[in-house]
């Protein structure tokens, strides 16, 4: 019996196809990117080894706004962690108490999550349309016509206009994670809290939130790390414009590689994004650990 379960041939047949594909698609390219990031290369001609010069250009001689793009992604991370997650938490706490229409609300909040970001992006382009868009129409209808903007092409408001749909789309996802966490808390804990006379808000802060802390940690990691590598909606709505006002690292990486053909320099950006995401994950885990 043991022999059959430790047959080398069987193990190879089972594991190797997945492993090879995974190694070639996911793991190996990281090393390739690391190598490319030390080159000056346009992808067609000869490449020149330039060591760490690309990284120096990225941060010290920077002239393409990479640091500003990184700052923008930090702003998005802040919005997601301090606005999106609290909304999601509030919704999850209310829903998990068991109210009428619980599953209806849960489904309604989650629908934007399953819709393609391209659809969401195109929809928000229409919402922001300056002549016939939903936003300006509503503002005009409320007698606030002076607030009308060319939302996506005005450098003053474009960044906010791009980030709002991002926050909007994923509230439901975090809500659901926290809701599932809250639902897994044994009922009798709430029961005894109620008998002791704890109000809804008190129960939420003293019992539910501390008990779903591991879930909240996961949400913070997803929200923050997801912001640092965010691409889709920014690419669709503005592609970093107007005048780089909404640039994030991923959109800058994309245009550096596929429009300017700076393969080496773009790879340095990609390496930075990966390291940045890993570091952020560990920092957040550390913050939650030290709070325990």
């Amino acid at each position: 019996m043991n022999r059959r379960f430790s047959s080398k041939t069987a193990i190879c047949i089972f594991v190797l196809p997945a492993f090879l594909l995974y190694a070639v698609i996911v793991i190996f390219p990281i090393f390739l990117s690391g190598y490319y990031s030390t080159l000056e290369w346009d992808g067609i001609g000869k490449s020149v080894f330039i060591g760490l010069k690309n990284y120096v250009d990225l941060f010290i001689n920077n002239n393409d706004g990479f640091t500003k793009a990184v700052m923008n992604s930090f702003i998005l991370a802040g919005l997601n962690v301090f606005i999106q997650l609290p909304i999601a938490l509030a919704l999850a706490l209310i829903l998990s108490r068991g109210i009428n229409g619980e599953s209806f609300f849960r489904i309604a909040y989650f629908i934007p999550v399953i819709i393609s970001t391209v659809v969401i992006g195109e929809l928000w382009i229409k919402i922001y349309n300056s002549d016939y868009g939903l936003l300006n129409t509503v503002l005009t209808g409320l007698g606030l016509k002076m607030l009308n903007h060319q939302w996506l092409s005005d450098t003053k408001v474009a960044l906010a206009a791009v980030f709002i749909p991002v926050v909007w789309q994923y509230v439901g996802y975090h809500m659901l994670l926290m809701y599932a966490g809250a639902k897994s808390i044994p009922k009798d804990i709430f029961e005894s809290a109620r008998i002791d006379g704890a109000t809804g808000i008190k129960t939420a802060f003293r019992i539910t939130i501390p008990l779903i802390k591991p879930v909240i940690r996961v949400c913070v990691v997803f929200a923050a790390v997801g912001s640092l590598k965010f691409f889709d909606l920014v690419y669709i709505l503005t592609n970093g414009g107007p005048l780089h006002a909404t640039e994030v690292p991923s959109t800058l990486l994309y245009s550096t590689v596929f429009l300017k053909y700076m393969y080496g320099y773009g790879s340095a950006m990609a390496m930075f994004i990966i390291v940045e995401c890993l570091v952020m994950t560990f920092i957040i885990q550390g913050i939650f650990k030290s709070g325990d």
Partner: protein
């Protein structure tokens, strides 16, 4: 009595918060449905938010035939289902060998796979593009299926191996005593038992492949091979002034995900949250 009153008051406030938030989440999508049935003259003459005066099904016909949404839709189906089937098979086999078979490297291999859940696809973008270009695979279905499978494997193996741990080993031992080979055990005993977990990873893979954008815009340049996400993006230029057809295209692109979600909402929710909650 007074307490009762206070309670219903707070209930009232909470409920209105939930309802207002539902409007915020759903109304934009409803508005999309509305303008997908209108034409420009109706929108431009002031009916931005109201119901359409006539249901212009013509917009849908335009989107499917003239704007190629039908073609993009078929491409997306081929790519997505190719990804689901291949990643499902590979992940089941790998997860089985990792959790059930006895070999020294099983733990390190699992850890290596799980690491993939933390790796953003940015680092693969350019190397894969160069590789696919030199293999002349750009603008083929494989240019998307292979990368999608690669990035779907970590989560799939994570969910499947967690599920396999919960299946007791007695069935396999019995089959082993009856003289079944390891392949028969896997195919006839384990695979049927894994059905719920396979459903979960299929939903997960469906949503991520169906909605993926970055690889799509990079690895597909030929118009006739574009998937829905990429295709819709390319309409932006040509049809940006035509509200109706583009709205219709967006509705069509959303339809499959929405149907799957409404029919199986609890499974979809479970498959998108288990990965996060166990981690």
């Amino acid at each position: 009595m007074k307490k009762q009153h206070k309670r219903s008051m707070s209930q009232y406030i909470l409920n209105s918060f939930l309802i207002i938030y539902t409007v915020i989440q759903i109304y934009p999508l409803f508005w999309l449905l509305l303008f997908s049935f209108k034409d420009n003259s109706e929108i431009f003459s002031g009916n931005v938010m109201g119901l359409p005066t006539h249901l212009l099904w013509q917009n849908y016909k335009n989107a499917i035939i003239n704007a190629n949404i039908g073609l993009f839709f078929i491409n997306s189906i081929i790519v997505t289902f190719g990804t689901i089937v291949i990643s499902g098979i590979l992940a089941c086999m790998a997860a089985y060998a990792i959790t059930r078979m006895k070999w020294k490297l099983s733990k390190p291999v699992l850890v290596l796979f799980l690491l993939g859940m933390m790796i953003p696809l940015h680092a693969s973008l350019l190397p894969l593009f160069i590789t696919l270009r030199s293999l002349k695979l750009i603008s083929t279905y494989w240019a998307l299926i292979l990368p999608y499978v690669g990035f779907a494997l970590p989560m799939a193996i994570f969910i499947l191996s967690g599920f396999l741990e919960s299946i007791p080993g007695e069935l396999e031992e019995a089959a082993c005593i009856d003289g079944a080979s390891i392949y028969r055990i896997f195919y006839l005993i384990i695979l049927p038992l894994m059905r719920p977990a396979i459903a979960a990873i299929s939903i997960f893979t469906f949503l991520s492949a169906w909605n993926e954008l970055m690889f799509g815009v990079t690895f597909i340049s030929k118009q006739s091979m574009k998937t829905l996400t990429v295709g819709i993006l390319s309409l932006q230029g040509r049809y940006s002034i035509e509200w109706g057809p583009i709205g219709a295209g967006l509705v069509i692109a959303t339809f499959p995900s929405l149907i799957i979600y409404i029919l199986m909402s609890s499974q979809v929710q479970a498959s998108l949250t288990t990965g996060a909650l166990k981690g």
